[in-house]
């Protein structure tokens, strides 16, 4: 059981290590996601009517998780993101990280992505 979990973490670590680099000068407090034990920065730009996210974290598993979110939601329209129910999180086994008390702040990341979409509807 725990080997299975360690495999998942191995995968997230890989994702985190391979995430596109995030500019140091964009690591500003306004881009910090509140509620995470590690520091997580999320930034975005609008291009061709779509939202393109970029992110970074000083913790690698958290970086892997945000990388996963970005790979799903980057390059989508605000409408697409706003209408997503984020159910894939549960399907891929990250559900237990959804508890608000979990230190990795997955909920805060999702809330931030939703907020960005709403602001750009």
């Amino acid at each position: 059981m725990y080997e299975e979990w360690l495999d998942k973490y191995e995968y997230l670590i890989e994702l985190g290590k391979n995430l596109e680099s995030y500019p140091e000068d964009a690591k500003t407090d306004d881009k910090l996601i509140k509620g995470c034990q590690s520091r997580v920065w999320l930034d975005y730009e609008l291009k061709d009517g779509k939202i393109w996210f970029r992110a970074d974290s000083d913790a690698i598993i958290t970086k892997g998780i945000i990388s996963l979110l970005i790979s799903v939601y980057s390059g989508r329209t605000a409408e697409e993101i706003a209408s997503s129910d984020f159910s894939f999180i549960g399907e891929i086994g990250l559900r237990e990280n959804l508890s608000p008390t979990r230190a990795n702040g997955l909920v805060s990341m999702i809330e931030t992505i939703k907020r960005v979409a709403k602001e750009n509807l």
Binding site: M1, Y2, W5, L6, Y9, E10, I13, Q37, S38, R39, D58, A59, I60, I61, T62, A103, N104
Partner: protein, 405 residues
Amino acid sequence: MTIKDIRDKFKYTSRTVAGRPVVYLDNAATSQRPAEVLDKYLNISTLSNANIHRAVHTLAVDATDEYEAARDAVKEFIGADDRREIIFTSGTTASINLVAFSFGEAFVHEGDEIIVSEAEHHSNIVPWQMMCQRKGASLKVLPVDDSGHLRIDVLETLITPKTRLLAVTHVSNVLGLVNPIPEIAQICHSHGVKILVDGAQGIVHQRVDVKKLDCDFYAFSGHKIYAVPGTGVLYGKKELLDAMPPYMGGGEMIETVKFSGTTYAPLPEKFEAGTQNISGAPTFIPAINFAKEAEAVEAETSKIRDYVLDALTNDPRIRLFGVPRETSEKIPLFSFCVEGAHHEDLALILDKMGIAVRSGQMCAEPVMDRFGVTGMLRASFAPYNTMEEAEYFIKSLDRAIRMLV
């Protein structure tokens, strides 16, 4: 009494995390509770539940007896002279806030100074900041050196005729080093400065004798020393407690109440306003008994401490904070960072190996700043932890580091 006997008293030892027997190494945050403590809590809550001190019926007398017997047990345990010097509170935080308020009202004036150490938990910093703001006093900081030892050599340069009190931890919840309180108290007292000791961690791993420590106040929580949460103690020298005004007003803490003026009850009730933790405070009795019993395995706990200390200090990937000059000054509490691996990642992976450790700032942001880190990983041991668990922790930590770095 063996570790096996001890473990049998703790139901948590039968549970699993991630399919493995849980290895609980977050004892510095809160200890587990033995069966005797939980039995006491349940018995009082079911068979002797009544409000204490006032009523004449039998249940109330029983409840009062239990509560007051706990005060005597605590008094004996910490070597206080007088049972009126033992104030029950909801925990260390409440104890320190009580002193910050009431000592502040009685003894601190505009322009006065309070000293805290750099290694304090937020609960031994913020109450003093609040008090200084209220009284127009200022807060000075006693630094720690690179190994985590208090810079006692500079203490006298911080003390002025305006210094009223030094608040210092017995053992830092991050560094795990036993501070030389008698020496610090002697310096303070030679300048007329009072000393409050945060004993949240200090009470757990050694016998505390407040008279030998020569402190004016000693604060600790029940939940870190096997009693139930929401229990705590403030020890204070009687002449000081007598001179301090009450912290909270309410029932129990009064002598007479008139609209023309109220007079207060004598110690300890003066500081115990309102209904107290009548089910919780009596659990200090079995908790203290357990702490004494657990001394039987002290040699083994020391072996575990030495093993972990050795493993962590000899691993070049690991930076340990709170490096002892001699092992006896270290409690089995280890905070560290790993080069290239975030503390949160390590804690998440260890959790999936069944190991509970703490990660983050541990309510001590100034200590994190002192050592230039955003957080640490902390493993803290208790008498129910075994050498096998310590070895499994070190092995698992190595595996977690290799996954990340």
